[in-house]
């Protein structure tokens, strides 16, 4: 009896959560406006309650999946009794309804964390921040309940078995990718709430920036990992060996990442120098708006791809409405209140401030170019002006040169000083790095590959130009210490975070440059006994066989690979699977990964006469792409762990802290 009622309990919990979010969104904000501490005090308990009840709802849906309750429409459409348990667990978010529920769950979790770790904040700021998060939560829970209820039943005609999860999604990459990505998307809601709270309160000081920075960094780190995982998944699961397609859905995740990167840097200036205040607020608003836009693009069905589950227009309209309200209201608040928080701080053109300004402008231009390429075809379509698509050449033509310019300034930024940097100092510190970057960058491709490619050389110069000045800076910073170890210990975690983050960008640039120019792809026709040579590796097909697993049938090729004249060989076994429940074919790629190169074999199609079409690829440095992403994310997390944020969290008394903040302001 209890088991039968699980979906209803989940549904009920979701309704309660929405009501709590409504209270959280209205009472504290009204309390601030009317100066009623009691109303403001509703914020924290409601945030906790909202999380609790969304978590109950989520647990109920998961239980329905685990118990194979096919009377629930969502389970019947996306699961199957033969599915292994871990895919049942991830199938919960492998569909529209479940994924927006996950979105809401993570939003509630971030809201709860904001409530939990804001003890040292003034009461009215907490009330405003949580109130705004409550409003966002309310919007999304209403979206789930009104248009995408995951607990809908299929009664009385309960199917005997489910339709199965899309085979492409039956994979470790999918278990990890959406939660990480959503953590990033949703995480930007916290800094968005902080920004609106600052606008409403008319107060924005260094302390505010110090509160907002860790949240931004964390959200950004999650988003980075999410994007890297998505790219990795596409690489091995789609069977083409591509790692970035400039697909609108990918762009949807890149947009908040780009503006979030700009936001992180602009927050640094706001904290250290008290400058760029309105700009920081605007970026915070835009970043979260772009997260919502991404959700809209992916969830509304205006795009068709593996991500677009829904084709119900009411859903798209609902998210578009949420997006419109959020962007419109927050920009209105910005327009009305921003003049209050701004105040000017001078700096010269050669200073870290100015370089970070350039960084921000470049990142915003990149965001806009990607946004235009993504939205322009949709706009034309919506206005009935024709169906077009914007291909990768557009994005590459704009994104690659902009990245190179960005890299140029990334080399200068970390060694420049705030406010003013003498030209002589920059030249003295950087000439060796510049020379090293050019010489090494131009010669290294000669050693690695047979032909010299200007694009690779340019990429390497850019990457080295990012890394070498950082090394020089490390050297300068530790030179005067008693020992190297002591010198390194003195450097702050925030500094290491920045270094790692930038190193990650350099590593990714190397990966992109090399894999884009030195990859070798060969589509071949092979029968057992045939051999083919690709990039110095000899691939010999030994035989073909069939294999049966719980939920699919597979044709399997056995291929032995030998490098050059070496005696040792290894085997690769690509498969072509046919999933039984959906009758959907899928290539399972055979990969031989390595830090310097991947070998990649995918089965194409049965050509009928005992031979198969195979796609064989040699992908040098492809791992560097994702390694760079992980380094960036790790840098972001490391910066959050910096002492100055922890000290703030344990500081004793609000009065003392307020005094400190004022003191710091005065000094800065």
């Amino acid at each position: 009896m209890q088991i039968l009622m699980i979906p209803e309990i989940g549904h009920y919990a979701l309704v309660i959560a929405m009501l709590m979010a409504t209270v959280q969104g209205i009472l504290p904000l009204a309390g601030v406006a009317s100066r009623r501490p009691l109303w403001m005090a509703y914020a924290r308990p409601m945030a906790a309650g909202q999380l609790l009840f969304v978590a109950i709802a989520y647990a109920c849906l998961t239980a329905s999946y685990m118990l194979d309750d096919f009377s629930v429409t969502n389970v019947a459409n996306n699961s199957n009794s033969m599915l292994p348990w871990y895919y049942k667990l991830s199938a919960v978010w492998g569909n529209h309804e479940g994924s927006v529920l996950l979105w809401s769950l993570l939003l509630a979790a971030w809201g709860y964390c904001a409530a939990r770790f804001s003890r040292e904040l003034p009461r009215d700021v907490v009330a405003r921040v949580l109130g705004i998060l409550g409003l966002v939560g309310m919007g999304f829970l209403a979206f789930v309940l009104v248009t995408s209820n995951p607990f809908e039943r299929l009664l009385p005609n309960v199917p005997g078995d489910g339709a199965d999860l899309n085979p492409l999604l039956q994979d470790i990459g999918l278990i990890m990718h959406p939660p990480m990505l959503y953590m990033g998307y949703v995480g930007f809601s916290v800094v968005f709430a902080f920004a609106l709270a600052a606008l409403l309160g008319g107060r924005l000081d260094a302390a505010w920036a110090r509160w907002a920075r860790p949240w931004t960094n964390l959200a950004w780190a999650f988003l980075t990992v999410g994007i890297a995982l998505g790219s990795w998944w596409a690489y091995y699961e789609l069977g083409w060996g591509g790692w970035w397609f400039w697909d609108p859905v990918e762009n949807a995740s890149l947009l908040p990442w780009l503006s979030g990167t700009a936001l992180m840097h602009s927050l640094a200036v706001t904290e250290k120098r008290g400058a760029f205040k309105s700009w920081t607020l605007l970026l915070a608003i835009f970043t979260f708006s772009l997260s919502l836009l991404g959700t809209f693009l992916v969830r509304s069905g205006v795009l068709t791809s593996v991500h677009a589950f829904a084709n119900d227009p009411t859903r798209g309209q609902f998210i578009l409405m949420l997006l419109g309200i959020t962007v419109g209201l927050s920009l209105l608040i910005f327009a009305l209140r921003a003049p209050r928080v701004g105040h000017r701080v001078g700096f010269t053109w050669l200073s870290r401030d100015a370089l970070l300004l350039i960084n921000n402008i470049l990142l915003v231009i990149m965001t806009i170019t990607v946004l235009m390429g993504t939205v322009y075809p949709l706009l034309l379509d919506a206005l009935d002006l024709g169906k077009i698509s914007v291909g990768p050449p557009y994005f590459n033509a704009l994104f690659v040169p902009l990245t190179l310019v960005l890299a140029l300034f990334m080399g200068l930024g970390p060694v420049a000083r705030w406010k003013q940097t003498p030209v002589r100092l920059l030249v003295r510190r950087l000439w060796l790095a510049a020379l090293g970057a050019v010489v090494l960058g131009v010669t290294l491709p000669l050693l690695f590959a047979e032909h010299w490619s200007p694009a690779v050389a340019l990429g390497l110069v850019a990457a080295l130009w990012i890394v070498l000045p950082m090394l020089r800076d490390l050297f300068d910073k530790t030179r005067n210490a008693s020992s190297l170890g002591a010198g390194l210990k003195k450097l702050s975690l925030a500094y290491w975070g920045m270094q790692l983050g930038h190193l990650g960008v350099a590593v990714t640039i190397v990966g992109v440059a090399v894999v884009s120019n030195y990859s070798i792809e060969q589509n071949v026709r092979m029968a057992p006994g045939d051999s083919v040579e690709v990039a110095g590796y000899t691939f010999t097909m030994n035989g073909l066989s069939n294999r049966r697993a719980a939920n699919f049938l597979a044709d399997r090729a056995n291929i032995s690979v030998r490098h050059g004249d070496s005696r040792r060989s290894f085997e690769m076994n690509p498969e072509k699977r046919l999933y039984l429940a959906t009758r959907m074919p899928l290539s399972q790629v055979a990969l031989r990964p390595g830090l310097l190169r991947d070998l990649y074999v995918a089965m194409g199609e049965d050509l009928g006469d005992g031979s198969w079409a195979l796609r064989i690829q040699y992908k040098p440095f492809v791992r560097w792409l994702w390694l760079g992403g992980l380094l960036m994310a790790f840098g972001g997390v490391l910066a959050v762990a910096d002492k100055r944020y922890r000290r703030l969290a344990t500081a004793p008394d609000p009065e003392v802290r307020a005094a400190n903040a004022i003191g710091r302001e005065a000094r800065a």
Binding site: I368, K387, S389, P393, A397
Partner: protein, 166 residues
């Protein structure tokens, strides 16, 4: 002018110049990289440009997929049930490429009237119909039910054939 004002002026001017360059470049890049979609009817009517990258699509006509026995060259016919378009491609077709299914091809139209495809796209879902193709079919007077039934029918026949050969 006071130095601060001057700085602001330069900043604004710089920003405007940068924005102008960015917009100009973007529009230029967009112009040369837009792929327009054409249905077989439009191509037969001569609406599509020759030797320029376009997208075309429709259903893969049953019984037209012909593979070269020596290489990976393949030819097939894409139809919107009014007109046909011959497509030639060299390489591996996507997993979900099947007779009777909707596809989108990207490539250049040759003056002889066939299309040399660089890319053949079939999506990750059996029941999925590329929206451009659906629109083209609708323009040709077919409702979604028509071609879905047709696709299901062809699919069943193909499955039966596969079952018989195994």
């Amino acid at each position: 002018m006071r130095p601060k004002r001057k700085q602001k002026l330069y900043l604004s001017l710089g920003l405007i110049a940068l924005a102008a360059v960015a917009v100009g470049l973007t529009l230029y890049a967009l112009r040369s990289n837009i792929n327009l979609f054409f249905s077989p009817v439009q191509i037969a009517a001569g609406d599509a440009p020759i030797e320029r990258q376009i997208r075309a699509g429709g259903m893969v006509k049953e019984g037209t997929v012909a593979r070269d026995p020596e290489s990976l060259d393949v030819a097939f016919v894409v139809t919107d049930y009014v007109d046909d378009l011959e497509v030639r491609y060299s390489g591996i077709l996507p997993d979900l490429f099947r007779e009777g299914q909707g596809v989108v091809v990207v490539g250049k139209l040759q003056s002889e009237g066939w299309l040399r495809a660089d890319q053949v796209l079939a999506r990750h879902d059996e029941n999925y119909m590329p929206p451009e193709v659906a629109q083209a079919l609708e323009d040709a007077g077919y409702t979604p039910e028509d071609y879905q039934d047709k696709a299901a029918e062809v699919g069943e026949r193909m499955d039966a054939r596969q079952g018989a050969s195994q």
